[in-house]
């Protein structure tokens, strides 16, 4: 279970619990601070407050270990090498997921420069999924995808959730929020979240 208590970053102030195998949709107008909240949970920006995984505070482990357990995925994931497969420690492990998201198996040798934003988004998701993190913090993971690819992503994540992964899924799509989230967190202009159970 992920426990967030009095997390404070700029105007953001949040407390909530996230159970194993639970997916929560995070909604709110653009610029309200959804990305800031997700980045803070992953400890990517300086912030205050208590964040624990199964009762272990994040300060108890090196930050890289924390982020392998509580993994943030940006809406536009970054790339540090020239070709796709250089970004994966085990490209063979990634292949089944890559093909499931509608990409050809030979895309490993593709140069990053040539990828469309939708291809980048799906490959970025696969790159994060193969870490088998306990918690996924997904920042608009289907914003650049058509409805078919978005559906493939939703079913893939749903499977992870069934296997016990916890997910916070930020989205502007109300229908998607209701589809994927068992709860919806609505972030308001004051940087606080309202917990809306369906």
């Amino acid at each position: 279970m992920l426990t967030v208590r009095a997390l404070k970053r700029l105007h953001i102030f949040a407390s909530f619990d996230l159970h194993d195998g639970e997916c929560v949709a995070l909604q709110g107008p653009s610029g309200v601070g959804k990305t800031l909240l997700l980045r803070s949970i992953a400890d990517l920006d300086p912030n205050e407050g208590t964040v624990e995984l199964d009762g272990t505070p994040r300060e108890a482990m090196p930050a890289p270990d924390w982020r392998r357990r509580v993994t943030y995925l940006a809406a536009e994931p970054g790339w540090w090498s020239d070709t796709v497969q250089e970004h994966f420690t085990g490209w063979d492990d990634a292949l089944p997921l890559v093909t499931r998201l509608g990409l050809p198996p030979n895309c490993g040798s593709w140069p990053i420069q040539r990828l469309s934003s939708g291809e980048r988004q799906r490959l970025g998701l696969v790159r994060a999924l193969i870490l088998r993190s306990r918690v996924l913090l997904l920042d608009e993971p289907t914003s650049a995808l058509d409805s078919t690819s978005a559906a493939a992503v939703e079913s893939l994540i749903a499977e992870q959730v069934l296997n016990g992964t916890s997910v916070v899924w930020s989205t502007h799509d109300n229908a998607q929020a209701r589809r994927v989230g068992s709860r919806v967190f609505l972030m308001n202009g004051d940087g606080e979240i309202e917990d809306n159970r369906p």
């Binding site: 992953a42 400890d43 990517l44 920006d45 300086p46 090196p62 930050a63 890289p64 270990d65 982020r67 392998r68 993994t71 943030y72 995925l73 940006a74 536009e76 994931p77 970054g78 790339w79 540090w80 090498s81 970025g124 790159r127 994060a128 870490l131």
Partner: protein, 268 residues
């Protein structure tokens, strides 16, 4: 050794060439005459002052005065490093890092040369220590400022890539390795280019100076080779320490990228 002695009067005629530049600027309206005048006066003043300062230092052969002169040289070098950055590290760090790394690299390499190969008596004799330090300092400074400039600019440009690596559980060293490599490459490039071109395209100032002073060309070449090796070592060492140091400064103990610690140049 024999060399042709110059009196101040012998410089009047060559100085007319600068006056010619000024006349050109006026006639063609290049608007350079003011800059040209200031630069000329600065050059004359600075060099004459340095001439007298070195005369004093050579007469004194005091470890204290020599160290003070070296310290002032390092200060000017670090000021120059900061002035060449498009983006800066905040506060004392920008000066501290530049000064620390030039001092460490140029100082180490100069001492190395003085203690192992040249061995003047005493080892800190300013006639050897200061010219050596000056030449190594100038090149180390160029390497460090280029390396830091490329590092900070690449970090800002490659922010998404660095943060992707961090978010996936990479350490700050893993995440910054690609930009650190780029920065090191840029810092070492001028030295490598200089080594490749020396003798064919350019005759180094020190070597020509020694030849003009009557030293046999092949002896001057040996001195120049020594200097080039020292410069290569100093630049490599200085750029490495500066780039790694800056990479540490723009990240924190929780392996976060801290772009808030890089200040963009405000003046145009």
């Amino acid at each position: 050794m024999t060399y042709i002695h110059l009196a101040y009067g012998d410089l009047v005629l060559p100085a007319l060439l600068v006056v010619m530049d000024g006349a050109l600027s006026l006639v063609l309206r290049l608007k350079l005459e003011k800059q040209l005048a200031i630069a000329t006066v600065r050059m004359v003043l600075q060099l004459v002052l340095v001439g007298y300062a070195l005369t004093f230092l050579f007469a004194a052969v005091s470890p204290l005065w020599t160290a003070l002169a070296a310290f002032i040289m390092v200060l000017f070098a670090s000021r120059e490093i900061v002035a060449r950055q498009k983006r800066r590290l905040p506060g004392i760090w920008s000066y501290g890092l530049g000064a620390g790394c030039t001092l460490l690299a140029a100082g180490t390499v100069t001492m190395f040369a003085l203690l192992t190969e040249l061995r003047p008596d005493p080892w800190y004799h300013p006639r050897y220590a200061l010219p050596l330090l000056g030449m190594i300092l100038g090149n180390t400074m160029t390497g460090i400022s280029l390396g830091l400039d490329v590092l900070t600019n690449s970090i800002v440009r490659e922010r998404a890539a660095i943060e992707a690596c961090l978010a996936l559980g990479g350490t700050r060293y893993q995440a910054l390795l690609p930009v650190v490599r780029d920065a090191m490459r840029s810092g070492l490039m001028p030295t490598i280019n200089a080594m490749a071109a020396v003798g064919l395209v350019s005759l180094p100032g020190m070597m020509t100076g020694q030849i003009l002073a009557g030293v046999e060309p092949i002896d001057a070449v040996k001195y120049q080779l020594l200097i080039m090796f020292l410069i290569a070592g100093g630049t490599g060492l200085g750029t490495l320490v500066a780039v790694i140091g800056a990479a540490r400064l723009v990240t924190d103990h929780r392996h976060r990228l801290r772009l808030d610690r890089i200040i963009a140049e405000t003046s145009p």
